[in-house]
Symmetry: C2
Subunit: 347 residues, 2 copies
DNA sequence: ATGAAAGCGCTAACAC
DNA sequence: GTGTTAGCGCTTTCAT
C-alpha cells in the first residue's frame, strides 16, 4: 500500500494526529514540528488518501454535474464545454472536484443522481439544464440536498431553489422588438424542445412583443424541434412552404441556426436579403457562420461560474437563503439581419 | 447521519457482515436471509456509502478524465463532448463514474493528476489529448498507474502504453492524394498546435503524399496555429497573400475550417470554385457549413468508447499487455472540393 | 450459513 | 503543543 499518515508520523517521531493537524495547518502545532513533519512528508512522498478523508470528514469536496441525456445530439452543443469551463474555474479555486453523470436516458440519470446523493459521493449538484416537471429537481428538493439549477425551475411551488439564469423572456422579447423595428411583420419562431424551460420563456417573450405591437400570432409561424440540428432544417422547409413565408426568424440556438442557414442556402434564399435571423447563445463558432449570425450572448461562462459559486456557498452554509442570480445578456449584431421593405398589400 | 449497514443489520436481525455479503450477493448466504435483508434495506431506504466502500475496497470505481487546459478555446471543440459521450457509455455499462480535471494551465493539470493518483481518487485515467513530451504521460508511466491515451504517445521509449488512435498519418496522406488526383498541385496545410502529436502525424502524411507525387514541399504552404478558431482565419490571410496562392487546403480541424471558410468568403473567394478544402473530424455541425465541408470522419465516439474499454480492462487486470487500438477513419465527401483545371505555365 | 472483530486512512474529541 | 483513542461505514478474514 501507499504511504500513510502513520508512516509519516513514525518518520517524524510524532503521533498520527499531529501529522493530521499539520495537514490542516492547525495553529496549535509548533513551527518546529510542522517543519519536521513536512520534511518527513516530502521525503516519503506522502499524499493524503482522499477516500479516508472524505469518510472521516463527511465531505467529499466534489460537485456532481448533471447533464441532459447524452444520447441525443444536444450533448454536442458547445454550450456544455463552456458552462463546464465556468464551473471548473470556480471549483478549482476552491479545490472542489467535478463528478460527471453518465446516464443516457432520463431514468438512468435519475438513478445516478440518487446514488450520488445517498452514497454521499458528492457534496452538491449542479443541473446543467432545466426541464419542465423534472423528477431530478423534485427529488433533490425533497432530500434537501444542496443543488443549483442552470436555468429556472418551472414549478412555482419550488420557489426557494437557488438558480442561475438569463432573463430569457426579456431577451426573446427584445430581439423580436428589434426585428419589428427593422420593419418585419412576418416573424417566425423556431424553438427548441418544449420540455426545456428556456423554450417556454423564449416563446412567451416572442408572443408578448408581437402582442404589444398589435400583430396577430400565427400558429404556423411557431415550430419546436427536439433535435437541435436536423430540427432547424425541417422547420425551415415547413416555414418556407407557407403561402406567406416569414421574412424573419428567431432561432432558439446557434447550432440550430447553422442548420437553418444551410437549408436556406440550399433553397437559394439569401440571408439577410430574403430572410433575417436572430438566434441565442453566441458560442465560439457563432461568428463563423456565413453570414456571421446576429445572436444573443447569454454569457455561458458566467452561468457556470455563478452556479458553482452559489452551490459552494450553499454547501458551506446550508442555512443560507436561496438565491436567484440573473446573468445579463447582450445582443451581438452581426450580419444576419436586415431592414425589411414595407409590406405590399396581401395578395 | 444517513442509514448505515448497521441499521439494516439490526432491522433484519443479522450481523453487519451479513448485510455486506447480501450487497455483494455472496452465494454463501441463504436465500431466506437475503430476502429478509433486502426487505430491511428497502424499508429503511438504505444506500451504501460510497467513500466507505472505496476505502475498504481500495477501489473507487471511477475514471479520471484529463482534458487539455481549459483556458483556451480548444476546449469548446465539440470533439470533447463526443469523446466523453463514448467514454460515458462504456463507463456507465460497467458502473464506473467519471471524474473531471479542472486545471486551467498545464502545471495545474499536472498537479491535479498527481492528486488523483496519489490520493487514490480514481482507479485509472484517460488522457483526452496527446501532447509532445507530456509530463503527465511520463508521470503516469513511472507511477505504473493504469491509464489510456487518446491519440498516441510521442516518445518512442514509452512503447508499452495503451492508446487509442486514428491513423492520422494515413488519413492526411490519403486526403492529400485525393486532392492531387483532383488535379491540385498547390496544396496548403493548415495544422493545429504543433505540440499535439496529431498535428505532427498530419503533417508527415501530407509531406509523404507530396513527395510521392514528386511535388516540391513549400514552407510557405505550411502553417500551424494554436487557437483552433482565429488561427484558421490568420492562416488564410497569409496563404492567400502569396504570389502563388494555393488552390487547395488541408485543414486540421472542422472548427478551424469554419474560420477558414468565413475568411475566404470575406475575401470573396469561392469554395470550392477558387479553393478546395478538406478537413478532419466530422463533428456534428460539420455538415452545416456553407458549403458543406468534405472532411475525414475519425469516429470520435469510438475513440472514447474504446479508450474506456481498454482502461477498465487494465484496471481489472493490471498485468495485461498494453494495447494499441486503431479506429478506422473515413473520408466524407461533401461539397468543398472540386477538380482543378490544368495549371497554366508559371508566370 | 452466519457472527465477531480487525482494519482501510484519516479526523477530532479528549486527555495531559 | 502533542499523544491516545474512538469513530467514519464498509469489507473481509477467521471462527463457529
Amino acid at each position: 500500500m501507499a504511504i500513510t499518515i502513520k508512516d509519516v508520523a513514525k518518520r517524524a517521531n510524532v503521533a498520527p494526529s499531529t501529522v493530521s493537524r499539520v495537514i490542516a495547518n492547525s495553529p496549535r502545532i509548533s513551527q518546529r514540528t510542522k517543519e519536521k513533519v513536512r520534511e518527513a512528508m516530502n521525503e516519503l512522498g506522502y499524499h493524503p488518501n482522499f477516500n479516508a478523508r472524505s469518510l472521516a470528514n463527511q465531505s467529499t469536496k466534489t460537485i456532481g454535474l448533471v447533464m441532459p441525456n447524452s444520447a441525443n445530439k444536444t450533448f454536442q452543443n458547445p454550450f456544455f464545454p463552456e458552462v463546464i469551463r465556468g464551473i471548473s474555474t470556480k471549483a478549482h479555486m476552491l479545490e472542489y472536484g467535478l463528478y460527471l453523470s453518465t446516464g443516457q436516458t432520463e431514468e438512468e440519470i435519475f438513478e445516478e443522481v440518487q446514488h450520488m446523493v445517498q452514497g454521499r459521493r458528492v457534496d452538491g449538484i449542479i443541473l446543467l439544464y432545466s426541464r419542465v416537471n423534472d423528477k431530478v429537481i423534485s427529488y433533490l428538493y425533497e432530500q434537501n440536498f444542496p443543488f443549483t439549477v442552470i436555468g429556472r425551475p418551472y414549478d412555482a411551488r419550488m420557489s426557494n431553489i437557488t438558480y442561475v439564469n438569463n432573463d430569457n423572456f426579456k431577451a426573446a422579447k427584445t430581439v423580436t422588438e428589434y426585428l419589428l423595428l427593422l420593419g418585419h411583420e412576418r416573424i417566425a419562431f423556431i424553438g427548441g424542445n418544449l420540455d426545456f424551460v428556456v423554450t417556454v420563456d423564449h416563446m412567451e417573450g416572442y408572443e408578448r412583443a408581437l402582442k404589444n405591437a398589435g400583430i396577430r400570432l400565427r400558429d404556423d409561424y411557431v415550430v419546436f424541434h427536439e433535435e437541435i440540428q436536423e430540427g432547424g432544417q425541417e422547420a425551415v422547409i415547413d416555414l418556407m412552404s407557407l403561402k406567406e413565408p416569414p421574412t424573419a426568424m428567431l432561432v432558439a440556438d446557434d447550432m440550430m441556426t447553422f442548420g437553418v442557414l444551410r437549408m436556406l442556402s440550399e433553397m437559394d434564399m439569401k440571408v439577410p436579403d430574403d430572410v433575417s435571423i436572430v438566434s441565442f447563445n453566441n458560442v465560439m463558432i457563432s461568428e463563423l457562420s456565413a453570414p456571421p449570425m446576429t445572436t444573443v450572448d447569454i454569457n455561458i461562462y458566467s452561468l457556470g461560474y455563478e452556479a458553482a459559486t452559489c452551490l459552494i456557498e450553499k454547501i458551506m452554509h446550508p442555512a443560507v437563503t436561496p438565491k436567484k442570480v440573473l446573468i445579463p445578456h447582450k445582443l451581438i449584431k452581426r450580419q444576419s439581419c436586415q431592414r425589411q421593405a414595407k409590406k405590399l398589400a396581401p395578395q
